[in-house]
């Protein structure tokens, strides 16, 4: 029972981590909370679903398609809602507000396009393996593999490649990075689209694991991602990865050993407590901002 729940928690948590990574990347580089991330995630889930059901493509192609859609949405988001604000000296809440605007816009567009009802993925991964007391389904293995490899690649990419270093420099200090010859505008666009692509892939994974894709999933999962962002410390990439796993495990255990109907309150109950005890998050230091 315990091990089974642990695996379930890790699976759920790894999708949370992917969502939270999107928030964290943008937070680290731009110092804003992208409230539209949940809706981009939801669009990714729908695109993946439509690709699988209508074009009958395989799931990897569907994820690629979702990632592309997410990246494009991210670029549009940056153009429409973030760039106009960067030129002016506006209050630090302005980007928060304009991304809330994008999020409710995208949600109602999805309601119009896809309808309010929940849809499901065709079940192609129903096989399951027994490992002693545990029963791990193919979907779970798939989710764990995809999200952990994406996280590893991302870490490596940020740490070792030239663009990754430029991104971290921009996160550290945007003016200095600019002076040192980093095209910070490009880096910002890249960050937003990368974050959105990750979110969209997470959408497909969540759609697979819950077997439900609906326009309102963006809000619930977006809020969970925000919770992880706070839990792990804003702009802290390791924090986002671990925070997601912790939240996933906490949720699954609260359902298994507690009251399942309060499941959605766990995330926010946790961050309210965390914020009061350690406002900088579990893994954040007070002055840490960068994408390290």
């Amino acid at each position: 029972m315990f091990w089974q729940q642990l695996v379930n928690g890790l699976t759920l948590g790894s999708t949370y981590s992917l969502i939270a990574l999107g928030y964290t990347l943008i937070m680290g580089v731009l110092n804003i909370v992208n409230m539209a991330h949940g809706e981009i995630f939801m669009f990714g889930a729908f695109v993946g679903l439509l690709l699988v059901t209508h074009l009958k493509v395989n799931i990897f192609v569907a994820m690629l398609g979702a990632a592309l859609t997410g990246a494009i949405l991210g670029i549009i988001l940056e153009r429409v809602a973030l760039r106009p604000l960067r030129r002016k000296a506006v209050s630090h809440l302005a980007p928060l507000i304009s991304t809330i605007g994008v999020s409710i816009f995208l949600e109602s567009v999805a309601l119009k396009l896809f309808g309010p009802q929940s849809r499901d993925f065709p079940s192609s991964f129903t096989a399951a393996f027994e490992f002693g007391p545990m029963r791990i389904s193919l979907v779970q293995i798939f989710i764990l593999a995809v999200s952990f490899s994406l996280m590893l690649v991302l870490r490596f990419w940020l740490a070792k490649t030239k663009i990754g270093k430029a991104l971290r420099a921009t996160a550290e200090n945007i003016e200095t990075a600019n002076l040192l010859g980093v095209n910070t505008n490009k880096i910002i666009v890249l960050t937003v689209s990368l974050a959105s692509a990750l979110g969209s892939v997470a959408g497909v994974l969540v759609g697979l694991s819950f077997n439900a894709v609906e326009p309102t999933m963006g809000i619930t999962m977006g809020l969970k991602g925000l919770a992880v962002l706070i839990l792990g410390g804003m702009g802290n990439i390791t924090g986002a990865m671990l925070g997601g796993l912790i939240l996933g495990i906490a949720e699954v255990f609260s359902v298994a050993y507690g009251n399942s109907s309060y499941r959605d309150a766990v995330a926010f109950g946790m961050i309210i407590v965390i914020l009061f005890i350690r406002p900088q998050g579990l893994f954040g230091s007070r002055d840490q901002q960068g994408g390290k």
């Binding site: 106009p84 809020l223 961050i271």
Partner: protein, 315 residues
Amino acid sequence: MLNSLLNPYYLQIGMFVLINAILGISIYLTLATGQLSLGNAGFMSIGAYSSALLTIKLGLPVYLAIPTGGMASVLIALIIGFPALRLNGLYLAIATLGFGEVVRVIFLNLKITNGALGISGIPSLNVLTGNVLSALGLGDGFGGLSLQQISNCAVLLILFVILVLLLFFTRRLGFSRVGRAFAAIKADETAAQAMGINTTYFKILAFILGAFIAGVAGGLSAHLTFYIGPKDFDYHRTVEIFIFAVFGGSNLVWGPILGALLLTLLPEFLRAASDYRMMIYGAILVAMMAFRPLGLISEETVRFWRTKLGRRSSK
């Protein structure tokens, strides 16, 4: 003419405008200290549920139940306010958003609140004022108006009086020592503290005032619509309240009121567009931030019109 103007539909819209304007004041008060609190829908639901339950289960009269609902919000605001207001900016916004979500989940699961089904059969203000009016001998209507129309008008008047009182209070507050302290904290919290302003005290005060007014607005809306459910107070409600302040402008109390008025009326005038209401809201938020981040009414607008009108009258 008057008879057709006072149809239930228009009267209902009028009531919603007034309730939303009261909510606009509630968010204005917390924004007056520069704190973005997104918990207003949560406080509204606490007020609405307490007031509804007090009248249904305990038989408390409505005029007592609604302020008690407001006080219940204040109590919760006090409990979460002290730790929450140590946070600033984005952290506070997210923590209060989380608070609203937790409140919603709790109401969704409590037995006494009837879970997802919500509470129906809440004593309605219309019927109550109708009873009072017929006791006064107006049971058959008056001046060609039916009893229902008169009682609806009476409710509208009550709401209007509450709004005017709140407006008066907020305006007076703005010119007082407290209001100056709010403005100082909004301009620069550290500087305000250095000037000897007890920032925590004033931030909590603003937070509590906002919570009280939101709770009262929640109670009023519960007694207007006879039914409340957890869905009425979700994330969308928060965004809706928040957009009043953003659209109208949050520097002056007239801003959120104008925002509430325009944005409640807009979907009614554009019936065809009401399906696209949320889309329009989203676009408004983005456009406002890009072109007029201070909202429709700011201090500069007022100054501009004042000098312009002043010049014209002196010519």
